[in-house]
Amino acid sequence: MEYPILSILIVLPVVGLVPLLLFPAGREGLIRIIALAVTMSEFIVSLGLTRWFKPELAGMQFTEKSDWIPGLGVSYAVGLDGISLWLVLLTTFLVMVAVAGCPEYSTHHVRRRLIGILFFEAMVIGVFTALDAVLFCVFWEGALLTIYVMIGQDGDQERRPSAAMIYGLCTMTGATVMVMAILYLHSWYYRISGIYSFDLLSWYQLSLPYSVQVPVFLCLAIAFALQLPLIPFHGWLSDVHSKAPAMTNVIVAAVLATIGAYGFVRFSLPLFPEASLQFIPVIVLLGLLGIIYGGLIALTHNDGKRVVAFFSLSQMGLVMLGLFSFNQVAINGAVLLLISHGLCTAGLFCFIGMLENRKHSFDLSQSSGLIQAMPIGAAVFLIMTMASIGFPGLSGFVGQLLILLGTIESPRVGPPFVTLAALGAILPAAYLLRMFQQTMFGEITDQKSAQLSDLEWREWIVLGSIIFVSIWIGVYPKTFTARVDPAIQNLLTHIEQKKEDDANRALSQSTAEEVEVLQMIEDMLKRGKAE
């Protein structure tokens, strides 16, 4: 395709938010319609990506490259492979869902939020497609800052700066560390190859010594782990989710977490294979802790948003487990689970947002019996809950199962970890079902609940489309895995190749040393004879 489709995807939301700036804050309906139109056209363009994507090619497609700061080697380089394809599509879909499905009841912030979301969408697509390290950092920080602003100015009055402040603190620390690591890598690249370049694909060819890999890997890992979040960097999660409005929740939970995992796939694994292999036990352990800890804590909470936040933590632990098992099937499952997690948390938060919109708080201890007021809503909510739990036929099951199947065959992870990881199958059932039953079943306790209106057709379409995609993934995941497989294959062979190269190098080095030593001994003997 000759069209710079990826650049269009990045620029379109930014262009689209200009009209929003021009309209005064009073014309709510018009603003919403424009935003919806922009996100829908963005989604349709990204659908075009799937149509023109060639599944059999393993490398990057739709690439564009032009120089930005030639003196430093910074370029504007974007490209897409099987993994980022689905992540981009997930982003455009979820932003569309967030804009369509979460109308806000405090109308004077609508314009700001919509502008924020559109800008955020542009930044995130940039993150997923950037092939230049500096470009990646720019988009990354752009995304984080947008979220910081969106959380900071909206939400409750009560502890308002704190949740955003904590979030900003955590993630910007990570971003700073990441930038330092990238600059260090840049200097190494110059040292080895003599060229200034931030181009990711050329960096893949680098063979870094182990002592360099470890600290850089750690820095990048911290940055990505703060985003996922991975225990113990998850402190911001529950506060942010409970204080932010539903639309922001969807974005943060569903999309931001994906960024973190993507960072691992795009940076950590290919650039630092040995370090990654070394750190497998640590990361796998953290992932496991996330699964169990998130599950256990979710049992105590009565705030629906916090329950879903800890569910998200739990799922991300499982994703990390899958990613770091270095197994084709497991990484496939991890990507699928990422997509599924995005869909499920989006659906759950959208539903919570719809309840909030009806001026009803989602406090589990206060509401009950809602099924009598909204039967269709309850049915939809049940399906979303089941999808999250991992009910077969819906998306969560496929992702979870592929991860477990792959991990048990992986020699580095093995059965004991998997036994604990499979607990991630039971625990969500307990607390998510509790959330569902406590709100939907039982007697109606207050008058407000009795008067809630059922889902409107607009909300129905939004949730229905999420369920539709979830069923598609659950019943026929081949559509998705077929395009992801070559990319994963590429990654794994690349890692194997690097390991072999390093082993060869070490071998040849030691052979050279041996030859030297033998030579020295010969010389000494000769001298000894001569004397």
């Binding site: 199947l405 307990a430 079943f441």
Partner: protein, 653 residues
């Protein structure tokens, strides 16, 4: 028509979609009709497939129909596929048949929430049919979890009652634990066999797994735990009786006939794997015998008729498990079929009673109903006779097969089984006599309308006839007849057992091979022994009937006196051996406490740390903010200071 076997589960799914999307506008009759038609469609197609398979030679009766590739899990490919073999067919016919009868029955009672009820039933049948006919472990998991969900939804049918909602969640979470166990077993199988298809795993089990090896034991134990949880065996029994909170016909189909049966199905399907780890078979048999007794004993003391027959179900499931543990899988399946039929009759009859008495479920408030619900009374007699295992009902032959297998495994198991027979007959007739005979008790609903809709009666009669004549399919060989069921199922267990190692310790002879090799003439002494044992169990059963008659018809005060005499025993039984309280204090409470503790100590501390950090940041910011005084002159001073510093640096270096 075998290629269209995938239509069999599809009919109920279609029913779900139609009723779910359009049903809000249908009148109740139409909804019931749609449900019945889909059930009829499944039944008809199952019969057709069955007939087709009958025409095939016995060793060819394994047809695999694959629809599409589901999970492309590297080398472990999983398809959406169906395996048509004798075991599957038998279960298909059973499930479709019972479903059909229950749907007809339901047409007679259309109450509030009818649409939700039919949706629940049909969705359940869909998943159950998927479970039975799947061709791989993983695809079976789909049906497995789906049935669990629908069962728990039915328990929470009357969602306004907190007890129902709690019970439904407990059922689901419990089952989830079973799911976890089975999932681990499946993962181990995938790791060892590289495939999850039944055709790839089961016949080759002996080659790939060393007998008595760790892998075989682990896999069988894990699968066993999952199946036992599903069949509500000890120590996982507490979810089933509590779960009977919804409409009784639904529970007839789901809990009585099929849900527990799915556990037995797994045990039967994986017979080869269990064969490789005899330890697991012993465990299964022991647990089965223990649960059979437990269920019967507890049932004796209950007053809620739903709980009486829920524990009855647990007890009968124990018999089936016992049969499987003894290696006589065909006997287990036979008892499964017989139990499904007679237990459905009983549950449906209870449904009629509860409905007619306006929701009354307590035994002590019923009496003298035999005149007012005549047809229910007659069908209840037949169901109870079959449950007690009286000749010539199906229950007699099937239970006899189970007991014979138990005896061959170990006589102690037989003794336990026979004791349970005594208790079973006793509680069954206790229920019958107290509900239908006796004086009218107070709060008797003397003016409630007693309805016996024709649809309900027809369904009950069909089931009763099946129970009466159904024993024919499993008449034992030892007594000179030809055991049709066992021979039909033999290819399944034999092909799976053909590779089983020859040296198995202990007396659990491969029953199938033995009875077949024995033939008609070689086991006359075995036949005599079998006859004697059968006679003993029958006599005990009749004796128990007599005692029960004495206790509940002749001298109604006697049971009260005995209960007072064995006070503590009685109380323990009444509380189901305190299983619920035990599990609550050992599992649930600690979990909740851990969760709360984690939140308080870990998460809150983390929060505090982060907030302190944030506070530090804000404090720094406030500190530096003081430079912004707002006075232009201060800014000018700062500029001056800066210039001075720069110049000083320049001049001094």
């Amino acid at each position: 028509m075998i290629e269209f076997v995938w239509l069999i589960p599809l009919f109920p799914l279609l029913g779900v979609i139609i009723i779910g999307c359009l049903g809000a506008r249908f009148p109740k009759r139409l909804i019931g009709l749609v449900g019945t038609l889909t059930a009829a469609g499944s039944l008809a197609l199952s019969c057709r497939v069955f007939v087709d398979v009958l025409h095939m030679l016995p060793h060819e009766r394994f047809v695999e129909v694959v629809l599409w590739e589901w999970l492309p899990a590297g080398t472990t490919r999983v398809d959406v596929g169906f395996l048509v073999d004798p075991l599957c067919l038998v279960m298909l016919l059973l499930v479709c048949g019972v479903s059909f009868c229950v749907h007809i029955y339901s047409m007679g009672y259309t109450a509030t929430g009818f649409r939700r009820y039919i949706l629940c039933l049909n969705l359940f049948v869909f998943f159950m049919l998927l479970l039975i006919s799947s061709n791989s472990f993983l695809f079976m998991l789909v049906g497995w979890q789906g049935t669990s969900l629908c069962a728990s939804l039915l328990s929470a049918f009357w969602y306004r009652q907190q007890a129902a909602v709690t019970a439904s969640r407990k059922a689901f979470v419990f089952d989830r634990i079973g799911d976890y166990s089975i999932l681990l077993g499946i993962l181990l199988i995938a790791a060892h066999f590289g495939s999850l298809d039944f055709r790839d795993v089961l016949p080759l089990a002996a080659e790939k797994l060393p007998a008595h090896g760790l892998a075989a034991v682990l896999i069988s134990l894990l699968l066993m735990v999952g199946a036992l949880v599903r069949s509500s065996q000890l120590p996982f029994s507490l979810w089933l009786p509590d779960a009977i909170q919804g409409p009784m016909p639904g529970h007839a189909l789901i809990h009585a006939a099929t849900l527990g049966a799915s556990g037995i199905y797994v045990l039967a399907r994986c017979s080869t794997l269990f064969g490789l780890a005899p330890l697991s078979l012993w465990a299964i048999a022991a647990i089965g015998a223990g649960t059979a007794f437990y269920g019967a004993a507890v049932s004796l003391t209950q007053f809620d008729i739903r709980r009486i027959f829920a524990y009855a179900t647990v007890s009968q499931l124990g018999y089936m498990v016992l049969a499987c543990g003894s290696g006589a899988y065909a006997a287990g399946i036979f008892h499964l079929i017989a139990h499904a039929v007679f237990q459905t009759i009983v549950f449906l009859a209870c449904g009629s009673i509860i409905y007619s008495l306006d929701g009354e479920t307590d035994l002590r408030n019923m009496g003298g109903l035999w005149r007012r619900l005549p047809w229910t009374y007659r069908m209840f007699w037949i169901g109870t006779l079959s449950l007690s295992g009286i000749v010539p009902f199906a229950g007699f032959f099937s239970r006899d097969a189970v007991l014979w297998a138990a005896f061959q495994k170990h006589p102690v198991l037989w003794i336990a089984g026979v004791i349970t027979v005594f208790v079973t007959t006793f509680y069954a007739f206790r229920a019958l006599f107290v509900i239908f005979h006796g004086r009218n008790r107070p709060n008797d609903h003397a003016d409630s309308p007693m309805i016996e809709p024709p649809a309900a009666v027809i369904a009950l009669v069909v089931l009763a006839v099946t129970s009466l004549v159904g024993g024919v399919i499993g008449l034992p060989e030892g007594l000179g007849a030809s055991n049709w069921l066992e021979r039909f199922l033999m290819p399944v267990f034999q092909s799976q057992a053909s590779a089983a190692p020859a040296a198995l310790p202990g007396p659990e002879v491969n029953l199938v091979a033995a009875s077949h090799a024995g033939g008609a003439g070689g086991s006359s002494s075995a036949g005599l022994l079998h006859g004697i044992l059968t006679g003993i169990s029958l006599m005990i059963s009749l004796l128990s009937l007599g005692i029960s008659y004495f206790f509940y018809r002749v001298d109604p005060l006697a049971p009260v006196e005995i209960a007072a005499l064995f006070g503590r025993v009685y109380r323990t039984l009444y509380h189901a051996w305190y299983l619920a309280e035990l599990s609550d204090s050992m599992v649930v409470q600690p979990l909740v406490k851990v969760s709360g503790w984690l939140w308080r100590t870990v998460e809150m501390r983390l929060n505090i740390v982060l907030f302190r950090l944030g506070g530090v940041l804000i404090a720094c910011s406030r500190f530096f903010e003081r430079i912004q005084t707002g006075l232009a002159q201060h800014y000018a001073l700062l500029i001056l200071a800066g210039i001075v510093l720069v110049l000083a640096y320049y001049f001094l270096s």
